[in-house]
Amino acid sequence: MKVDKTIVASAALHVLVIGWGLVSFSARSLEAPPEAMPIDIISSDQLAKMTAGLKTGEKDKPKPLAEKVAEAKPVDDAVGKITPKQEVLTSTAPQPPPKPEEKPVEKKPDPPKPVAEKPKEEPKPVEKKPDPPKVDPIAEALKSEEAKKPKPTPKPEAKAAPPQPPKPKQERTFDQSKIAALLDKRDPARQAIAGPTLNQTSSLGTHAGNADAIVATWKSAFVGAVRRCFSFPYNGQDSDQFEVDIDIQLRRDGTVASAPVIVAVRGPSRSVGVAMAESAKRAIEQCQAYAFLPKDQYDTWKYIPMTFGLKELL
């Protein structure tokens, strides 16, 4: 029996490679994380705010990129800028019916233009490929763009003549002289980044600038937790005038480290203010432990100054 040496060599080589792969790509057991990771649910807006910046920018630029000086109402301006673009689009909007007709007849030499403007109409040129007579007018169309628009009649002809499909492929030849025609002539859609002063250097975003946004995710959770236990029994109409400042210190596990400290009491009645302060202290102690606070950010919440009010009671 004759054995082909090449097959043997090939088989040996395969066995070698596969064997090496098995050794080198061996799976590792997954190790459980040391402790549960705190997870905050944030909205897409918050995420966008936290990740704002350019990847190619420099790290930690104190000044955010600003391409123009901010105006009074940037939001209103943004709306205004969008509407003029639509005016340009309106000139293209009515064209959809005629364009498919033009492409087979005249524009075949300029494939990019229809593609850039009307990607949806791609199927139509496929049907029109069969038009042999239109090949000649295309050459003429290359010379003058004006001639393209007036010819709307080719449709019946295109359907009638099915022959050479390869011709359109040749039309894809890139013509550098026509680059200008390929450009999007609409007004630029991009908005300039507005700021109080001009700064041409892009950045990854400021280091401290997003700190508040990150903190806000657990800050709101903390407010909600304390609020659940804060019920001060008061039915006066001047409730919005009462405020109590209280400072608390928390342990890493989210429990209150020491008795909350009443820093200030404001309001038309001292006795009511003091009772409200006690009620606020009760709420803080009643609702502990605040175990959801992110341990890796302990430095930001180990000390929390708070102000309790009664504005919502009215």
Binding site: S231, Y234, N235, P305, M306, F308
Partner: protein, 440 residues
């Protein structure tokens, strides 16, 4: 040591107007975290049955507990927790409760108490108010009285709890005088009656042979002034609650009506009819001297003093429709303060001095409202077919009024925010309520 330095440094920085931004790691907290309650929530409070001091005290201790629970619940500021949820059974109020078991049912405050009939026959009531979160005792008192006054002990304890947790005086240990109405509408018998603010302990002061209207409490709580239709013209009378004696106030020609005491209880202000008009007069109860306060060709009535006695508000139609006016207590310079649609009547100055309650008529409805003493901040508390006759609780936080939706009038309370409307239980129909000051 470190903490003390920390606090003093912070106090200094606050005093000098600096911010926390300079405090290193605290820089993230340049702004204080603001916490407002999302909406009004009554305070959850646990009131387990008061422990009977002896085997015979079970009924009265349960009664005291029930009255306290009812008072706090009706105030709308507290939410007594259902006893069925209690985990710990209190058997000795001299031992600290197991706070974890009260925290588990979300109680923020806990009231424990004991009622004991002593050897001398008197009743002793004790209570302790606990803060569940910290385990601290917030208040603790004991009271001794005759057994028949067990309800007053309950009201006084209720006021103690209310004051300790809200910072304001309570209003539970008070009474209400009102006109009790019985019989068919066309032959309605009206009697003066007095009761505890929660509707219990009703006593009738008159027999119903004569029609009585607009009773008002004296600040001393021993006397009532009211208008009675006797054999002749309606007259203003003074009635001593303790002795049951009554006397006519002044001997004026024509009708006298709409009386009310001055804050010191020494004078009565009222309307005297003169032809088609009526004007305001004040009478000194000791010297019996009478002073005219208004002199207009209009109907001036329903006067009510400010708590400091320096001003008074009243109703007058001198501008066309009845409106509310304010003027100095000695008369002159009346200023109109009501300018809303419709007419305003029966103004009453709050014991706190901050608001004037009124009845407002317009659009086919009668509403009870309050406004500031300068006429601003008008707020309608309730409106409907017929609401009338507001009177303030001693702490000025609750208004009682009467409502007649057809068969006969009934008493209601509502707080000055327009929340927590409650019907006051009365034996029959009831109108014209007047709230007393605190009894203790």
């Amino acid at each position: 040591m470190t903490k003390a330095r920390h606090v003093s440094r912070r106090g200094f920085m606050m005093a000098t107007g600096m911010t926390f931004a300079a405090l290193g790691s605290r820089s993230a907290w340049a702004q204080r975290l603001r916490i407002d309650p999302q909406e009004f929530q009554p305070l959850p409070i646990a009131i387990p049955n008061f422990v009977p001091g002896t085997g015979a005290d079970g009924e009265v201790s349960a009664g005291v507990t029930q009255v306290i629970t009812n008072n706090l619940k009706r105030s709308g500021l507290f939410a007594p927790i259902d006893p069925a949820a209690f985990i710990e059974r209190i058997t000795n109020i001299d031992q600290a409760p197991q706070f974890q078991s009260w925290k588990a049912i979300n109680a923020q405050a806990l009231v424990t108490g004991r009622v004991t009939r002593q050897g001398d026959g008197r009743l002793k009531g004790e209570f302790r108010l606990w803060e569940v979160a910290s385990g601290q005792q917030l208040a603790g008192q004991q009271y001794v009285t005759s057994p028949e006054y067990w309800r007053r002990i309950s009201h006084i304890i209720s006021d103690q709890i209310y004051e300790r947790l809200t910072g304001e005086k309570g209003y539970f240990d008070s009474r209400v005088v009102f006109v009790d109405e019985t019989g068919a509408k066309e032959r309605r018998v009206k009697r003066l009656a007095i009761m505890d603010q929660d509707g219990a302990n009703v006593h009738y002061l008159t027999k119903g042979t004569d029609l009585v209207l607009t009773p008002r409490f004296s600040p001393s709580t021993q006397e009532i002034t009211y208008m009675e239709f006797g054999q002749g013209d309606p007259r203003v009378y003074l009635y001593n609650i303790e002795t049951g004696q009554r006397e006519i106030v002044g001997n004026f020609p024509g009708m006298s009506f709409s009386p009310r005491f001055s804050p010191d209880g020494q004078r009565i202000i009222m309307s005297l009819q003169q032809g088609g008009n009526s004007n305001l007069f004040v009478m000194d109860l000791r010297s019996k001297s009478t002073t005219r306060l208004t002199d207009t060709p209009a109907i001036d009535t329903s006067p009510s003093y400010s708590p400091d006695g320096s001003r008074l508000c009243f109703e007058s139609d001198r501008g066309g429709k009845p409106q509310i006016y304010v003027m100095p207590a000695q008369g002159g310079g009346a200023q109109r303060i009501s300018f809303g649609e419709g007419s305003y009547s029966t103004p009453v100055w709050s014991p706190r001095g901050d608001f004037i309650a009124f009845t407002k008529q317009g659009g086919g409805e009668f509403a009870i409202g309050i406004m500031k003493t300068d006429g601003s901040g008008e707020r309608i508390l309730t409106s409907g077919f017929h609401n009338e006759g507001p009177t303030f609780a001693p702490n000025g936080r609750v208004v009682m009024f009467f409502r007649d939706i057809g068969p006969g009038p009934a008493l209601f309370t509502i707080d000055v925010n327009g929340r927590n409307e409650q019907k006051v239980p009365t034996p029959g129909f009831a109108s014209d309520p007047a709230w007393s000051p605190l009894l203790s």
